[in-house]
Point group: C2
Chain length 376, copies 2
């Protein structure tokens, strides 16, 4: 077993190129996680996820505590074995999903009580129970149980919410069982208010968790507010710890956030979009359901090396979505994950050679060109 | 290019071990096709289909003439390129699906007029048009356009239906454009009436098509009637041509039919069952949705080498179906296709060593044991 550690190899401005070592192997940063909410990356075989370059998966405490339950996953040998993902796994704490999915939620200082959105069963989730669940799941990176402060909260509301999250973070730290190669990440909150973000960062620094989540962003505040919040927050985070911007985001959100010093990302966008026919390409998003593709023999993205782009025409992908064939979501999800992983690889290489600004400029220039012209 | 040919290497009783050579490569017989109705094996990547040992795919004239249309597939380079299946492809003639799916069907001596089940558009399908469509799709084995005589037809109805199919087969033969490595299979009809099956076989022999479909079976007549119909039909088919029992079937149907001299099979059962949670194993079928599997750490079938059985527990597969995750259908379809291909491999090897009866006895004995006992 090895210690959990974060090595930074090079930097370019605020951007960092590093590697995180966990009990189940390493991942290169900046990293984009494979979203495996219910212990599966939707529509994907794990081997095909790994083939895109994804090294880190994220599973969901809320979903897994309902089905199949954390205790059952533990008896079956933990998440890595259960879902055939031998590499590193992050679990979120469940707080966000409880507030967005569960029914009859009641939140107080102790934690949250709620009823399952599936069958109405009553549950309680507290910082201590969230730590226990994440340990039972055997995730390498445990996220602290927090409250995601709603977008538009007043400074008073945001302060009260953030301070409760910081008290919960303390309870998480006490409840978290240190194990070699395993980490707890505290989560920075404070909405878009710089003083609250600073206060939250200092509280987390006192706890000395192995890394930081940056939470409560990408929930409607807009990209500009998100970037400026990152900028005012990061100076207060200890530089030698990884920074994980939770739930972000679009490709341009990621490029901008890496420029500002973020190391880790997760977002449902590549997988969810893949299932509905939206593809990410170097020249922006493509809706493959659009009739313009019906007889287009060209690949989705000629620069992409994924299965969808090397083996199939846009016409075929269009056909699969039009006929509601499962291979459509399979191929577009594969493509989108590959696109995101390629973007991360490009960002990492650019930081290594200290060309991150050139990379970002080229990225935006190509994006602005828009999709290839339809065939006449 | 090579001629279309069928080589028989060895026989054991009525069972034959052979190889069919087509314009797009060979396949070993007895063969079970991969069902790729709308130019995709549902829930599967072609590479994973091939990895199971499947060499031959079957696509559907009716579905493809509606979407994306045969003309469009032709302009895109044909089915092999369109769906990334470089190997041999069979297309059915569309007759069966018109009768089971289309609306406002009218059948007469000329052919069938109908409306699409998708958008109500009017179409006509005749022997000549079916041949044209299958040529546009570029299938290696074109099936004659016939009427599938309904189960329970009287001898008079069955005779009239079969004789029209034989007149249509003549028109198919005239319309089929011979190309090196491509074949037309006439389809034997006649319901369960031996004299009609004989009359049909002789009509097809006069046409001298490259192989035979055996149609109008596995539509409710029962296994005993199916087997006895095969037994009375096959003696009238020319021995050096491949025999394809259309739409069959369950594993025991296949074993029994190979024993009686059938060379080729197709059926939606492994793929359709895989999507609904039913798995085929050496010890019979398993409904993975059943609660008995919820914490079972054992593989679906310990004798199976597929992804589902080597990487995952029954508990995980159960979880995937319970949470309606796409990976469930993906893994169970993979398993079922692998099971069927393993069965065919076993049958081929048994014929080679003239142990087909021992193989069949062992197959039935293991099947009769039923699924492994639940864990206490």
């Amino acid at each position: 077993m090895t210690d959990f550690k974060f090595d930074i190899f090079s930097t370019d401005g605020a951007a960092r190129r590093g590697r995180v070592t966990t009990a189940h192997g390493t991942f290169e940063t900046p990293a984009f996680m494979a979203t495996a909410t219910a212990a599966t990356v939707k529509a994907m075989l794990p081997d095909n996820v790994r083939a895109t370059g994804a090294e880190l998966a994220i599973c969901n405490t809320y979903h897994l505590m309902l089905r199949p339950t954390a205790e059952r996953v533990a008896r079956l040998g933990g998440l890595h074995k259960f879902m055939d993902w031998p590499g590193p796994i992050v679990t979120d704490s469940g707080g966000f999903q409880v507030m967005s999915l569960a029914k009859l939620r009641t939140i107080n200082e102790n934690g949250v009580t709620f009823r399952s959105h599936i069958d109405g069963t009553a549950y309680e989730l507290t910082p201590e129970r969230s730590m226990q669940i994440q340990q039972l799941l055997d995730s390498d990176i445990t996220m602290a149980f927090d409250e995601c402060t709603q977008n538009g909260a007043s400074p008073e509301e945001a302060a009260a919410s953030m301070r409760m999250s910081m008290r919960w973070a303390e309870r998480c730290k006490r409840a978290f069982m240190p194990r070699e190669g395993y980490a707890l990440f505290g989560i920075n909150q404070g909405s878009v208010y710089p003083d609250l973000r600073e206060e939250s960062a200092k509280a987390l620094n006192d706890l000395d968790t192995e890394g930081y989540g940056i939470g409560g962003l990408a929930i409607g505040e807009g990209q500009e507010a998100m970037f400026s919040t990152i900028e005012v927050t990061i100076p207060f985070l200890k530089p030698m710890k990884p920074r994980y911007l939770m739930g972000v985001g679009r490709p341009d959100d990621i490029v901008g956030s890496v420029l500002r010093g973020v190391d880790m990302f997760d977002c449902v966008m590549p997988t969810r979009s893949g299932r509905t026919g939206q593809a990410f390409t170097h020249r922006g998003t493509v809706n493959i359901r659009n009739a313009r593709h019906i007889e287009d023999p060209r690949p989705l993205d000629e620069r992409c090396g994924c299965l969808a782009c090397t083996r199939y025409s846009r016409a075929y992908l269009h056909h699969l979505f039009r006929t509601e064939e499962m291979l459509g979501p399979i191929l577009l999800t594969t493509h989108n994950i590959q696109y995101y992983q390629g973007l991360m690889r490009g960002l990492r290489e650019a930081i290594e050679v200290r060309k991150i600004n050139d990379f970002a400029a080229a990225f935006h220039e190509e994006l602005a060109r828009g999709d290839i012209e339809p065939l006449s």
